[in-house]
Amino acid sequence: MTTNIHIQAEDFDVGEEIEALTADQVQAGAVASFVGLVRGGDGLAALTLEHYPGMTEREIAKIAAEAQARWRLGGITVIHRVGRLAVGARIVLVAVAAAHRGSAFQACEFLMDYLKTRAPFWKQEDRGAGSEWVEARPSDDDAAERWRKR
């Protein structure tokens, strides 16, 4: 089981990352993945992503270890970009390889829910006229919370 965690300004290649995750693993029959993009609308021009270097990697590693403890996974890749990202740009990739699709889907959603509520990233919206910090959404806390009840 490999865990790849990258915090970077650069873009990433989704196909390559997914392929690398199963390259040496004939036991992996399933890869579930999620790509988050900068969603346009309301005059949004770009997002600027700030993070807490060091803690970000630690938190994501903890979340990945928890996913691995809950499901039998073949590999996890988490890539999160920081810096200024224009509308339509990729922000995040979470990809999970597993023997079967149920585990892959659940672990991928779990990782995203915890990433949203525990990894120290902050988004600032640039609407041309000025920039504003994004408020945390209670629905993200609810999404993470449901994993506790299982």
């Binding site: 992503l49 993070h51 803690m55 630690r58 999160h80 995203m112 990894a119 120290p120 994004v134 408020e135």
Partner: protein, 83 residues
């Protein structure tokens, strides 16, 4: 102790990092927050409502009642919005 600020906490305070000497009066994170708020100005604004803040000690999420030690890295920031 090294104290870090992120996002709008950093902007209101006008800096991203500073050293604050550990002292008996700064036993918990909450006490450190109250001490910083008392400086007024940007600090007063940033720490006006502790319910809006989150905190980490040595890069681990903790609550305001977490106990501090000399050499700790303490970070104040808003609820996270990544992903």
């Amino acid at each position: 102790m090294n104290v870090l600020y992120f996002a709008w906490v950093r902007q209101k305070i006008g800096r991203s990092e500073e050293v604050v000497e550990h002292a008996p009066a700064l036993r918990t994170v909450g006490e450190l927050a109250a001490f910083l708020r008392a400086r007024g100005g940007g600090y007063g604004e940033a720490f006006a409502d502790l319910a809006r803040l989150r905190v980490a000690v040595n890069q681990v999420h903790v609550r305001m009642d977490a106990v501090l030690a000399a050499g700790d890295e303490v970070a104040f920031f808003p609820p996270v919005t990544g992903g």
